[in-house]
């Protein structure tokens, strides 16, 4: 039986990092195939190769037995691969029907054939079970409805392959169930579906086979879901019994509270967040993609507003109005997970990127004069401590490898002398050596008495490095666990905390709560 999609040995590297290493996956008609993997495992790279955004460095991709090579997303669409991404690709002011038929608007006597558009769209809307007025502008629809429209649109392209990327990320469990019915129906009609998700219970309930990626490689290729349990999936995703890269800490925290959140709610839909961070402690914040961790970090640092509850720093109540405020008054820093978009400025020099937090301090009092010499003198020791590899500090940050860029992103907070540092997914897409170096750095900082909040969905990382862990799901803190530094132990504990709560959610169907 020839598969609808067959990828063998796909590899893709970006500057300094091997995102995919000899990865294979195959899709058969009439199946729902799960693609699993943690952040940074290579899932999104593989998806982008399938949808024509990236061209693989090596490997073969076959569609229906014939070798293909996509140069653009349009190529992929023309070849029959339709994707429903997390971002919506619909025209907001247009109606449902028009969005569905956008690539083939029928014309009669020079004018748009409205009747034909409606007829065309209704077929697909019925297939999906979307019972709405086809003329409704899509900007009035809910997220779940939008998703269904996108699926209808994808199907109307008569694609052989339907790729769904985190389809249940922003919809209620009730809407998710409806979606699954639709997918099962499509399966019976012979559509090949690639289902990308973090939610294991969904995968177990819905999918036929599973392919798992870890660190850019397959740990499972097209394995039938029968007989596989949740723990097996977790083990495939996060590995087992790996050597701890860092020994357990010798220094314990001295107990002083650096940062405390009580009953905090934010403009980003967080509710009732309680969190305590001590000096000299590394607190891990674990959660799945989209559960609100980065937003919480941004709320702490003042980029998102806190709407309720109390935030206190060093035991005293704090009103943090902006990031500049957080840095200057409370010495809080945030290393963004979006390294290239928020962590550093690619078009500026390394020295500029590092010194940005201390410019006002470096400038002389009266003349406001800020000399390059002083700037470089301040930056150099930090750059050396972090071993940032570059011919000079004047090199543009965009030219560095991912690992070095991350070091630059961290360096500016070190230079500013932050006492509380939030690090958001600091080692995603970074080479192993730099990863280890960053872990060591985090340890050192904590030993120095700094308070670190480590946000990560990399289980081995968080288990190795953190002292304690807070677990987040759906914009709430759902549990705190002490770290025993043993993988099987911790991964089971954490997953139980997350999925245990998620199961409870599913039981209260129609609760209407959107993640």
């Amino acid at each position: 039986m020839s598969n609808v999609v067959d990828i063998r040995g796909a590899s893709k590297s970006f500057v300094g990092v091997r995102a995919l290493d000899n990865v294979s996956i195959d899709l058969a008609a009439g199946e729902i195939h799960a693609l699993l993997g943690e952040n940074g495992a290579g899932k999104s790279t593989l998806i982008k190769i399938i949808t024509g955004v990236y061209v693989p460095d090596s490997g073969i991709m076959k569609l229906g037995g014939q070798e293909v090579s996509f140069r653009s997303p349009r190529d992929a669409i023309n070849a029959g691969i339709a994707a429903v991404h997390q971002e919506r690709n619909l025209v907001p002011a247009f109606g449902i029907a028009e969005n569905i038929c956008l690539d083939r608007l029928p014309v009669r006597h020079g004018l748009l054939d409205r009747a034909a558009i409606l007829a065309d769209a209704e077929v697909w809307m019925k297939t999906i079970g979307l019972k709405l007025d086809p003329a409704t502008p899509v900007r009035q629809l809910s997220v779940a409805q939008l998703q269904l429209v996108e699926i209808a649109k994808a199907l109307s392209l008569r694609s052989r392959v339907l790729l769904l990327d985190e389809p249940t990320a922003s919809i209620t469990p009730h809407e998710a169930d409806r979606l699954f019915e639709v997918l099962r129906d499509l399966r019976s009609r012979g559509v090949a579906m690639l289902f990308v998700s973090h939610r294991l219970e969904e995968v177990l309930a819905l999918c036929d086979r599973v392919t798992v990626l870890r660190d850019g490689r397959n740990t499972a290729i097209g394995q039938p879901i029968e007989g596989i349990g949740r723990r097996d999936l977790i083990r495939l995703m996060i590995g087992r019994d790996e050597e701890t890269t860092v020994p357990p800490r010798s220094h314990a925290s001295d107990g002083a509270v650096a940062l405390e959140l009580k009953g905090v709610a934010t403009a980003a839909a967080h509710r009732d967040i309680n969190l305590t961070l001590h000096r000299g402690e590394i607190l891990g914040l674990y959660g799945l993609v989209g559960c609100g961790r980065s937003e919480l970090a941004k709320a702490i640092i003042g980029a998102i507003s806190v709407t309720a509850g109390e935030v206190s720093v060093g035991g005293r109540p704090a009103r943090i109005r902006s990031v500049a405020d957080a840095l200057a008054r409370y010495r809080i820093g945030y290393v963004s997970e979006d390294r290239k978009g928020e962590g550093i400025v690619l078009d500026q020099a390394i020295a500029t990127n590092i010194a940005v937090t201390v410019w006002t301090r470096l400038a002389r009092r009266w003349s406001r004069f800020l000399s390059r010499t002083r700037e470089y003198a301040a930056v150099r020791p930090i750059a050396e401590r972090l071993q940032i590899r570059a011919p000079s500090l004047a090199v543009l940050a965009g030219k560095l490898s991912g690992g070095n860029q991350q070091k630059v992103s961290v360096a500016k907070w070190l230079l500013a002398g932050t006492e509380i540092l939030i690090m958001d997914e600091p080692t995603v897409g970074i080479d192993v050596n730099t990863k280890a170096a960053l872990h060591r750095l985090i340890r050192e900082l904590a030993d120095d008495g700094k308070a670190i909040l480590l946000i990560s969905s990399d289980m081995p990382e968080i288990v190795a490095v953190a002292d304690r862990m807070a677990v987040m799901n759906a914009f709430r803190i759902v549990g705190m666990v002490e770290n025993t530094h043993s993988y099987q132990d911790m991964s089971a504990k954490i997953m139980h905390v997350i999925h245990g709560v998620a199961d409870a959610d599913a039981e209260t169907a129609g609760s209407g709560r959107v993640a």
Partner: protein, 334 residues
């Protein structure tokens, strides 16, 4: 000590420094001066040099007025309107007997205030500076018309008018020194002050700047205020040269100043999207335009055709810059 994956090096036909836009501008300017000095008698005369330098001074400062707001990633369509407001205010004060220096100080402050309003509106509403300054260019111009009754003010302080005529060594207008001082001040600002560095950082990536603790709001507002201030300075210089405050000096709602204000920074290599400034480049860009204009005038190509030329030059300059950007990043994979 390097593990940077640099782009594969292209075979260079020219050394790196020679491809900088400033060098190209200097070459073109020198060429033009050479050609015009031959084809247009009197081009290099002290009289003409003085006249050109005076207009050039205004154009340079106007170019800087746009450059400082491009730096932070925005634009200021209201430069002309703010300019004419300041001009009329300054002239009006002088006509009312206020000493020249005070009237200039007030005028400049007014320019900064009007620019500051733009900045605050941009930050508060989250709208693009294009939209905001499109609206304020009209509002400011209307306000000016209302207050001045659209009548020119000729009753200026004699000292002020003298400043407009003063020259050094018979050739160099004192006004030109003002432009040079502004250039030096801006260089200092962007290279060696925290606020200037923060401004460029914000222009390059506002989100990253905010998350790095840069006070983005303050930076944007101050950039717009600086733009208004410089537009005011340019207007004051022009008023001194003309000897009168003229409501139509920048055209209907100030639109006549849009081209000169943009063309200097663009020719000079300032990034339109923000993040970098070319102070010398802007200076040279304005010089190129002034030399070209003067030369064409002297060979009897009407004033009117010059605008056509400039439009074409602007188009060529942006296209060439775009081509250069694509060429240099073309081999950076993916």
């Amino acid at each position: 000590m390097t593990s940077i994956d640099a782009a594969p090096s292209r075979r260079r036909y020219l050394p790196a420094w020679a491809t900088r836009p400033e060098i190209g501008l200097v070459v073109i300017i020198v060429l033009m001066i050479a050609i015009f000095s031959v084809t247009a008698p009197g081009f290099l005369s002290p009289f003409n040099t003085f006249a050109v330098a005076r207009d050039l001074a205004v154009a340079i400062v106007l170019g800087y007025a746009m450059m400082v707001v491009l730096a932070v990633g925005g634009m200021n369509l209201a430069v002309g309107s703010i300019g004419v407001c300041v001009a009329m205010a300054t002239a009006g004060l002088q006509a009312a007997g206020v000493p020249a220096i005070l009237s200039v100080a007030c005028g400049v402050a007014a320019g900064a205030a009007l620019g500051g309003v733009n900045g605050v509106l941009v930050v508060r509403t989250g709208l693009s500076s294009f939209m905001i300054t499109l609206a304020t260019m009209s509002i400011y111009f209307g306000a000016m018309l209302l207050l001045s009754g659209a009548e020119a003010i000729r009753d200026l302080d004699p000292g002020f008018i003298y400043f407009g005529r003063a020259r050094i060594a018979g050739v160099l207008p004192v006004m030109f020194l003002v432009a040079v001082v502004v250039a030096i001040a801006l260089t200092y600002f962007y290279r060696a002050t925290a606020l200037g560095r923060q401004t460029l950082f914000t222009g390059a990536n506002p989100k990253a700047a905010e998350l790095s603790g840069v006070p983005v709001v303050r930076t944007v507002v101050l950039a717009h205020a600086l733009s208004g201030l410089l537009a005011g300075v340019a207007a004051i210089m022009l008023t001194a040269r003309t000897g009168a405050g003229v409501p139509s000096m920048a055209g209907q709602i100030g639109r006549d100043w849009l081209l000169p204000a943009f063309i200097a920074p663009v020719l000079g290599g300032s990034a339109l999207a923000g993040g970098s400034v070319a102070i010398v480049g802007t200076f040279l860009g304005a010089t190129l335009v002034a030399v070209l204009g003067s030369g064409l005038r002297m060979v009897n190509i009407g004033d009117f055709w010059i605008e056509l030329f400039l439009g074409i030059i602007l188009a060529i300059a942006v296209i060439a810059d775009r081509a250069r950007a694509l060429w240099s990043s073309g081999d950076r994979g993916q």
